[in-house]
């Protein structure tokens, strides 16, 4: 399975969310999940199974299909809950 974080230019904040997802996956002991980050312009639905974006990009990310909206992209607890939810849905936990 593949997760991706997306932000405006795909440089800073999506990269940070990617690193946070990676450390949460480690914490949860989930393996075999690839995590990447993209900019809004080049992200397409086939690039990942689920996309994480900040609330301010919710409108622009609709075309990506399976999108998880983060109310705050620096809140680890929120991210943990949402990553967990994705993992249990996929049967990884």
């Amino acid at each position: 399975m593949k997760m991706a974080a997306v932000c405006g230019s795909g440089l800073g904040s999506s990269f940070m969310v990617e690193m946070n997802i990676n450390s949460i996956l480690n914490e949860l002991g989930v393996t075999g999940v690839e995590v990447a980050h993209y900019d809004m312009g080049s992200a397409t639905p086939d690039l990942a199974d689920v996309f994480f974006v900040g609330g301010d990009l919710a409108d622009s990310a609709q075309h990506l299909g399976n999108v998880v909206i983060l109310d705050s992209i620096i809140d680890m607890d929120e991210l943990r809950e949402k990553v967990k939810a994705v993992c249990s849905k996929e049967g990884l936990l």
């Binding site: 230019s9 440089l11 990269f15 940070m16 622009s60």
Partner: protein, 455 residues
Amino acid sequence: MNSVLNILIDIASTPAILVALIAVLGLGLQKKPISDVVRGGIKTFVGFLVVTAGAGVIEGSLAPFGEMFQHAFNMQGVVPNNEAIVALALTKYGTYTALIMLAGMAFNILIARITKFKYIYLTGHATLYMACMIAVIMSVTKMSAVPLVLVGGLALGLANTIFPAIAQPFTKQITKNDSVALGHTGNFGYALSGFIGKYVGNKEKSTEDINFPKGLSFLRDSTVSITLTMGIVYTIVALFAGNDFISKNLSNGTNYIIYALQQAGMFAAGVFVILAGVRLILAEIVPAFKGISEKLVPNSIPALDCPIVFPYAPNAVLIGFLTSFVGGIVSLFIMIATGTTVIIPGVVPHFFCGATAGVFGNATGGVRGAVVGSFIHGVIISFMPILLMPVMGDLGFQGSTFSDTDYGVTGIFLGKLADMGGQIAVVAGVLAVLALLIGLTVFGKKKTTETKEAA
């Protein structure tokens, strides 16, 4: 023996290999498996070459723009875009940039360790770009290699500590949280906007209470927004330059408007390529820096990219972008009227920095704070490059420049010192700032005074 030495020198002066080695070092320090190390090294190596390729595309688009602008208005027109100027500079200053970046990250950790300013700057592309600008300015002083890298690295480490610190009183107010800081290259402008907001507005009248159209969200896609604005700018300049001039000298007979639109698209294509390369360069270096800093500075505060504050005030993001852009357009007319170098308002700096300035202004002064703060921010990032370009040596004439406030503050500070007293003044100035941080730690004063120092 001599030939081995020559090969070593060649490796050190081939920045693509050098950044790959830095990535390999980072991966090695984290004890990653050998396959990860090899993969990471190769991707970083190729990433650097991708950036260089993008620089060629940008150059191809900026050169005719400069000619058209010169012919049309008899003035130099400059398009501020960090990616463009960094890519152009890296072709010549890549080695120093890579080494200053490495030294800067080490100094950042050291400063966070020994002073009370615990900020670790995790916005990798901002560190890379700032390292590049410092490399250019330090090279103008003709300092020899080792002191250049050390002093440049120290300057970078200091900048990456001070800028998050000056914005922190406001960042805290926005995120309601003191464990995260803002690390983006417009922090000086954001802090200023927050400061102005306090005096001109009322934070109870928040931008988030008004109903603002969401239709502009497509501008968050940088390829779309760059092509759109550059298309407009190139077309206007082409109209003034005239079909005769363009089809005779530049487009090889193609209609001038079509040619202008294609060149504008080329600019966006160049930025697209550069961004892809920068992503590859940073993919291994940033996580390594994060992991190492977390071990060495246990109570560190990560300084993160500007969109972390966007979800707190989405309306302020759009209001900030628009008013900052208006500030850029007003500045453009002032420049045309006064006959200085003309800075074309770039959509990317106005978007990201203007938007963040809007969020900061809103946090302290509501709607009026966001509008006034971002407008002043827009004027500042338009005029700052005019002061910055003369200290950048031959890079000042490339048709593009750095625009965000922190490049201006740092670059003008270092550049003016170099102008006044050469190498000695630069070294003394950088050490004085370090002494100030240590002094503030020792005497435990409030951390508001260094705003003045940085300016």
